[in-house]
Each structure stands twice: as structure tokens, then as C-alpha cells.
Symmetry: none
Subunit: 208 residues, 4 copies
């Protein structure tokens, strides 16, 4: 009697196992056998549900991205009519959310960044994510500044978040999260207060 409705359960199981294995051994050392063992299933099951190793990795990455955007969405919903500053803080918080800062997710994310450069399938996901983040941030900045500056502010904040996040991932130190958040908040404050000096194309290159 084939149990029905196993699909989503098994898939979630395997994605969790994938995250776990990448956390423990790294993407480069994540084998199908290891993932299946971690999930408590047989090796054949992965092909059955994801067709391919790449299929599993894509699904895993999609799952991580979905979690990130759900976190951002939830927090923005809760502050729908708040000030731009408050909403940007909420989005920053989402990026350092518990679901994002677990080691498993950090390592997975970083690994995907790296391998997305040579795997078109992952690259597409990565691009979508990046664009979505940029536009989400830009929307909020637009309420407080002209479009040109808003775009730059969004790019800068996105870079800031990624950079802080990357450092936290590399240093493997959960305590950094609080500092990371504060530095990101500070950057928002900088941008909302107006640029100290408008960055110009060339003259800014060699300031006294």
C-alpha cells in the first residue's frame, strides 16, 4: 500500500539532511550517500524525489531563499505603516534572523554563492535573490530620498549586510550578530541623514 502524500514530507526531510551534511562536512564533501544516511533513507530515494544531485541542491537553495524572504516579509507586514528607518531595520533583522544565522544555513549559503558562479541553475536563483533584495531595499529608501541616491543606498546596504554576514560566517562566531546588526543600523542612519559628502565620480577619488 503506497502511502500517499509522502512527497512533501520526504522532500523536506532530505533538504534538512542536505543542510545538515553541508554544515558538518561542507558542500564539497557532501555526498548523496551521506545525505541519504543523515535523512535515514536509502540512497535511491534522492533520485526518486529530486531526480538529480543538482536538483536536490537547487531545492535546498530555494528553500533557504524562501525562508529568508518569508522572514523579511513577515517583519515588514508587522510594520506596514512604520517609518522607512523602522522597516529597513526590520529587513536587516530578517537577514540576521535565527533561521539565517544558524551555521548550517551560513555555510550552505556561502557554498552556494561560490558554486553559483559555475552552475547556471544556481546562478539563476542567486540572481533572482539579489535582484529581489535590491528592489525591496530600494523601495523603502525611495520614500526618503531621490531615486538616484536610493539606488545607491540600497546597493550599499545590501553589500553591507552581505559583508557582515560573510564575516560572521567565516569567523564562525554567533556573538558577532549583535555587532553586525548595529553596524547595519548605523549605515541606514548614515544614509537617511543624507550623505556626508555626495560621492562624485572622480573628484572623490583623491580627497584631501
Amino acid at each position: 500500500m503506497p502511502k500517499t502524500g509522502m512527497r512533501p514530507i520526504r522532500r523536506a526531510q532530505l533538504i534538512q539532511a542536505t543542510l545538515g551534511v553541508i554544515d558538518q562536512a561542507g558542500l564539497a564533501n557532501a555526498t548523496m550517500a551521506g545525505i541519504a544516511r543523515q535523512a535515514g533513507t536509502s540512497t535511491g530515494i534522492v533520485s526518486h524525489y529530486f531526480g538529480d544531485k543538482m536538483g536536490l541542491l537547487q531545492a535546498t537553495m530555494r528553500s533557504v531563499l524562501r525562508d529568508l524572504f518569508r522572514a523579511m516579509h513577515d517583519r515588514r507586514q508587522a510594520l506596514r505603516d512604520a517609518s522607512p528607518g523602522a522597516r529597513l531595520h526590520a529587513m536587516i533583522d530578517a537577514n540576521f534572523d535565527a533561521s539565517q544565522i544558524s551555521n548550517a544555513v551560513r555555510k550552505t549559503w556561502l557554498a552556494f554563492w561560490s558554486s553559483s558562479m559555475h552552475e547556471p541553475a544556481l546562478q539563476r536563483l542567486q540572481r533572482i535573490n539579489q535582484r529581489r533584495m535590491q528592489s525591496n531595499l530600494c523601495c523603502v529608501f525611495l520614500e526618503a530620498m531621490p531615486p538616484d541616491r536610493a539606488r545607491n543606498a540600497a546597493t550599499g546596504l545590501a553589500a553591507m549586510i552581505d559583508g557582515l554576514w560573510l564575516r560572521a560566517a567565516l569567523s564562525n562566531d554567533a556573538a558577532d550578530t549583535e555587532l553586525a546588526r548595529r553596524l547595519a543600523y548605523q549605515y541606514v542612519a548614515f544614509q537617511l541623514a543624507g550623505p556626508a559628502r555626495t560621492p562624485e565620480k572622480s573628484s572623490a577619488r583623491k580627497p584631501a
Copy 2:
């Protein structure tokens, strides 16, 4: 007697080939055979000079790091007595130096970031690099602000640079470099002008 003194030449050759292969195929797909072919040598030669694949990767990473710090050092020397702002700009420029922004180096760097999480040997190099960058930046900021703020400014700028650098790497678009530099300059200007609002531990978390 056979040709002597081939050591450094061959090593440089092989490191260049490694960067090339990682650029084309990614670290995950970089095989010894491919690297040897790219270098125009036999496969055995890599073991001969680096002992191991990991030995070659370490040497390659070390080479990339050395280039980065040489670029920073050179630019700082040229501006030894300049203002903090000018020197920070020089350090930023070094990070977006031609030697750093080539695709090969970007991908290699990102790949190393990723795999350093599970390879102690690479992790060590990565940590050393991170600490050196932080302290170099901090030294300059200290001339313009109290130690506490200088440390945060250094961390923030380092994150900013990494984040911008990461985005450039992922988007694979060399044209972003100019924008990246401008955003980093802007961050320096923010910090040197004094914080818009001092980031505080908790009250800053939910600003109106």
C-alpha cells in the same frame, strides 16, 4: 647537472594555471590533470612541487593574499603622510586593484572563502588575512576617532569592502568596480564625519 632553480618558476606557473582553471571551471571542477594541462606540464609535476592538491591550493591562496597586501602596502607607502581619508581610499583602491578584480582572482577568492570553512589549512590563512585587514584599517581610523569607534569603523569598512567585492564577483560585471569604490569612499566619509546617530546597544534597535 640538470637545470637548477626551476622551483620558483614552475611554482608560479602552476599557481597561475590554478587560478586560470578555477576561473574557467570553478574550484569544485578544478582537477590536477586540468591544471597540469593548463600549465603545459605533466600531472606528476604538481606533486613534485606542492606535494599535494591541498598544497597547491594553499600556495595559490597565499599568492593571492600576498598580492592583495602588496597592493595595499605600495599604495600606502606612496601616501605615507597623507590624511587618514586619503590613506583609506588608497586601501580601498588596493582591494579593487586590477590584480584583485580579475575574474580568476574573484572566483578563486570566493571559492576559498567557502572551502576555508572545512579546510583548517585554508581557514588559518583566511583568519590571518582577515585580522591583518582589520588591524590595518583600524590603525588609520585611530588617527581620526577614539579607539572604540575606530574598531567599529574598521569592521564596518571591512564588511563593506567584502560585500561590494562579493557582489561584484557574483554579478560577474567588471563595470561595477567604479560604483563599488564610490560606495566604499562614501562609507569612509560617513565614518570620518562622525556617526549620524551613535549606534547604541539596544535603544537603536527599534528607532522610529
Copy 3:
């Protein structure tokens, strides 16, 4: 469900193939590919069942030892209440049993002797085997002589058997088996009749 219970069958198959390859080409030239081909399987299967080449070799040696001791045990059981002489003959016969004198087994045994000196895993097996043989022989001799002499007789007979066995292996001549057995029987007769002259520590060294 896939065929289950293949484990012992495949393992036996592969061990037989290992013996065959060592017989034909020698341990030094026994490759995994050759063994797999001989067994009619793919190369990967060896790792699947034995993990390692050394794992396969250990299992093979264990199998050979097990066969030897089973042969000895069977023959002793059949003569449970017989005289010491009869039981020692049975043990000698077991050592020159059909399962032991096949060329494959001889060469394998000799190869293991040699490589056991540098492979701790094999050395352990070798030591266990040696000790077990010594104690089995000693038990029987004890029924016919004082402990001191029994120990020496056991050591001597074990050496005799090994030496005869070794010569047979090296000369590659199956016909020697009969002679080997007779010489071993003779040694037993010598010992059971009482020593011609008690071997003494030093005075025996230069007898007239």
C-alpha cells in the same frame, strides 16, 4: 526490494578471486581491477564490501587461517580419544591438507608472512595464528612429556611444519607434500621417543 543477503556470497566470491590473482601474479601485482575482473564484478564492488584493499586482504588472510583451523579442528574431533601421536599426525595432515597446499593458498600465505612485517593489521592476524598453533600443539605434547620439553617440542614441530611448508611453496612442487608429511611424522616420533640427548644451553653447542 533488491536482492538481499548478497553480502556473504559476494565476499566469498571476492576472496576467492583474491586468492586466484595472488596465485597468478603475486601479491605485489594484485590490483583491485584484476581482482574485480577475476570475480566478474566491477571495481567499485570491492570497496562496497571490504571498504579498502587492505580490508580485502585481511579478510582473505582471515579466511585462509579459518580454513586451516577448521581442518585441524575436524581432524582432531575425529580422533578425540586417540593417542598423542595420532592426534599430532592429524594436525600435521591438516597443515598439508588439500585446502592448504593449493598453490594459491601457499603463495598467499607466504605473501602475507612477508607483508605482515610492515602491516600491523596483518601482523595481528599472523601473531594470533602462530600463538594458536603453538598452544594447540603444546596441549598434545603435554600428555606425553613434562611441560618444559612439551613447549620445546611444540615450537620445534611448528617450525618444522612451517619450514617444510615453505620449501614446498618455493619449489612449487605438489609432489613434495608426501615427503613433507613423512619428515614431520618423523619429528614427532623423535620427540615422543624422548630426546636423543637433552639439549643443554651451552655445552650442547660444540659437541664432539
Copy 4:
């Protein structure tokens, strides 16, 4: 200025190095590079003097055999007119001579035994050695018994010596040498005193 007369010196050097490496790592792990390093020369030199790896191994084995027979010859010369017993003891002593019982020699010998089964060149040496030993022992026994018994006695003593020697090699215990010698002496005494019971072809097989 090519130094002349280096040939024998270098050859001896390399043979010693070979013995050393086999002692430390085993024949299976003895590489040309390792031997050259141990000898303090370059890798190419081995080909230069021995042409081949097998050439070096043959020369090494020949050297070991030559040492054994020199030891036997010397001791027999010293006892030219002594009794058969004394001369047999001398030959036994030679086999457990200091030059023979060093670990390096033991392991080398055993390794050669093993690989001689598949290397015709080594096999030839091995056969010559075996035959020479047999005939040397037989000559002496012939002075004390009829040819038929002498042949058997020689075979038995040779087996005894090899077996004792083998056990000593495997147990890696130099202290066994004394016991080994005593057991070999005892065997000589047995044979010289006349067989306890003449070994017969079939009736001896199942004695009561």
C-alpha cells in the same frame, strides 16, 4: 674529473641502502627515491649502476646469499676435520649468524622468498641457494648414514632451519635465536642417533 673505481663503492652503498629501506618500510614500500635518499645519492644513480630496480634487488639478494655462504664456508673451514655433528652445528650457527639475524636481512630474505615466486630472476637465485644448502648439508650427513637417510635428514634440517628462522623473523624477537639454535642442534642429534622409528611411506601415517 671522473673519479675512477667508484663502481664497487657505489654499488655496496646502494645495496646497504636497499637493505635499510626494506628493513624500515618493507619491500613493497621500498621506492627508488627512498633508496637513493638513504644512500645519499640522486635518484638517477641507481639506473646508472644497476640499470633497473630489479637489477638492484637481484644484486641485493645475491649479496645476502653470498654473506650466508661465506659465513658457512668460514665456519666449516675452521672445523675441516671435525665430526659430522660439529660441522652441522657450524652450519646451523652460520644460519643464525649475526649477519643473518639482523632485522634488515631477515625482512629482506623473507620478502625475497615471497616475491621470488613471481620473479623468475629472483627465483633462480632462490633455487640455487636452496640446492646449495641441501647439498652442503647432505654431504655431511652422508658421512654418518646411508644416502637415502642422508637426503631426508638434509631436507629435514634445512626445513627446520628455515622454519625456525622464519618464526624468529616474524616474531621480531632477537632473543629467540638461542632457542632456535638449540632446537636445530637437537634435530641433528635425533638424526645422528638414528631414527626413532624409520618413517615409512604409508604405515607411518596412522600410528597408534
